[in-house]
Subunit: 424 residues, 2 copies
Amino acid sequence: MAGLHVSLRSIDGVAMSGDISIDNMMQKALEIPGLLSLAAGFTDNGLAPRAQVQEICNAILMDDSRAETLQYGLPIGRRKLREQLAHRLVKQDQANGATPTPIGADETIITTGSQQALFLAVQALCEPGDIILVEDPTYFVMLDVLRTLGVRAVAMPAQNDTLDIDALDDFFAQLQERGDLDRVRSMYLISYFSNPSSKCLSLEQKTGLLDAMKRHHLHVPIIEDIAYREFFFEAPYPAPSLLAWETPEIPILLTGTLTKLFSTGLKVGWLIVQEPALRQRLADLKRCQDFGTANFPQAICEEAIERGMLDEYLDYMRPIYHEKARALDAGLRENGLQDLGWTWEPAGGALYLWLRAPEGVATGPASDLSRICLEEKVIYVPGELCSAGEGAGRVRLSYGSLTPEDLYEAAARFVRAAKRVADR
Amino acid sequence: MAGLHVSLRSIDGVAMSGDISIDNMMQKALEIPGLLSLAAGFTDNGLAPRAQVQEICNAILMDDSRAETLQYGLPIGRRKLREQLAHRLVKQDQANGATPTPIGADETIITTGSQQALFLAVQALCEPGDIILVEDPTYFVMLDVLRTLGVRAVAMPAQNDTLDIDALDDFFAQLQERGDLDRVRSMYLISYFSNPSSKCLSLEQKTGLLDAMKRHHLHVPIIEDIAYREFFFEAPYPAPSLLAWETPEIPILLTGTLTKLFSTGLKVGWLIVQEPALRQRLADLKRCQDFGTANFPQAICEEAIERGMLDEYLDYMRPIYHEKARALDAGLRENGLQDLGWTWEPAGGALYLWLRAPEGVATGPASDLSRICLEEKVIYVPGELCSAGEGAGRVRLSYGSLTPEDLYEAAARFVRAAKRVADR
């Protein structure tokens, strides 16, 4: 299909190895001994639930009646797993005060990670040249998908790194004036502990957004990415998913993952779509793309839910990742980053801090900061990559894979680099 | 993207369950108690290598140094597995007399089954309206992929159910006259124990095909699907892959699977491409589609190769599937199908018999044969589905999933149905 772009594309994927062609910056970084990466959005290998997965594999593989787990499954995924997922979602939305439309296994499609769900959604909804509206900032891998498929990402207005509802009327009117509103095919939202901003969309924002879309007759499906919804530190964020609003004119394509925190190596994501024609289109594309996500990892996830292991593991991990988040935050503060004029908010979940540099300090791949960070043996994701708007002067730091001690040290290095930039 | 077609699309995938919307015929069939399916292209659940996979899972998950198997891998797949695959291919081609260009891990991309490899190839090479040339018959799931992506499948001339090299010059000339030759973007070949014909492409056919393409300046990549190459019964088929011809003007996109016979539930396939620009394009699409095939099943396959378990298992399975093939063949012969004018050849590998009905007997989804087979509680895949040309009067029977006893019984039922059709 149209134009494939290759630059800066694999930061989340390649920090483990320099195996594929990437930007010089990343390539160089990977060759530096002792480098601490705050760039890769990985979880911590040392915390992988090896014992749990082993127990499940043994149980499955010793059971004569479950030889089917080593066989093809359905293209849309294991029925029981789809039931579990739908049930889980309904329960979460109810806990957040919603009385959601009943969702069932039939509305659910299992995907190879939530990455495949995003790709399927874009491919099902867009032709090259179409527009998808995104938050500013947004998930940079989604921007890569859009570029690769020739779809234009247009940033919606933001305030304080989250959707600015009050500015939407003007924004939609401008799109209309430019003749672009008719090319908008979808909207992409990361509504819980966003990568990279760590923000959630409130009940008021969700209501306001849907109302504004209706006022402007923007009746297009919303892709709501709730990948980090269950990856909170102290309490779930108290807003239901967009399904709870029951807006037939704006179909919701909900997507998430079971394995981002549990075991990314199993790679089991999902899509929930109520609108029948769109769901059929997604199922057709899924079938053609890979004839169904590998059955065995699905069976492992199914069993992890059934045995309560997934929830136990999430409960066990939350304070551990919270401690990581606090170690990075403390390292930045105690080494004096705020005194240099940098600002950020603590994270309530997921894996990221989103920093704003002082006025005039560039953070892009070719910036002094980026170069000096390499000298200090620490790397980050430049904000430009996470934005379809400007994104300049921003930095994404991830605390997922390093230990609290290394995070503190990485933070100290980052602050040293920021000081050197300030002193120039 | 353009036009999604949904009919008759999932026979290989849905015979396990009536979970998704399919043709009435299949839907009805699945509700019939005691039905024996010769339709689904599955291997035998009862023969799944559960003990082997269990041993490997335990070894991997108890090893501290291998926690990375539960983490993301590279988008193009595990390096060691790619090395193993490349090595395996070079060895096979050498055993068949070729001195192939050295292939390495860098030329190899791991995919979620060979199905994803086919989808990636079509998406990388074609726009809607483009043409891919296919054999007649060909893999019906590939025809589904082409329809779904809006790509036209055009059948090449065949004789005795395999590529008719002598007819290629006329065929290419006709394409040229119709103005279609310029829209041909690729060619799809199943060169070992084809699904459905069970034929292999000989050395002479491969040479003749490449020569004809060069004569007509048809310099497009060939997708060579060798999924069943290692699934022979008595001896490997003695022709190397097309890589051995070293034709830079006709890039080869070789694809296969590690798990079709071993464990389809692990779903690990692969692509080997030497041409750098095409390989980069495929890697970009793969990265965007799912950010890499699940790492844990890849690690299981890697270990199965390393421990020699994959080869042991293949050696163990060959006579078992050979016996199945013979049971189906015997059931058809001994119950008198030949006497009714039906013809077929025994299979040398893989999972299929490809039958030709006597002149005038229809075999399509709406035919008497199809209806009466349902009454006799046996189902098959109509030849029309496996052909971009006519395919009428053909039947694909699969012997993968049933026991020899059930295969003999299913054959008896099929012959009864054929007799009832003949008697009308």
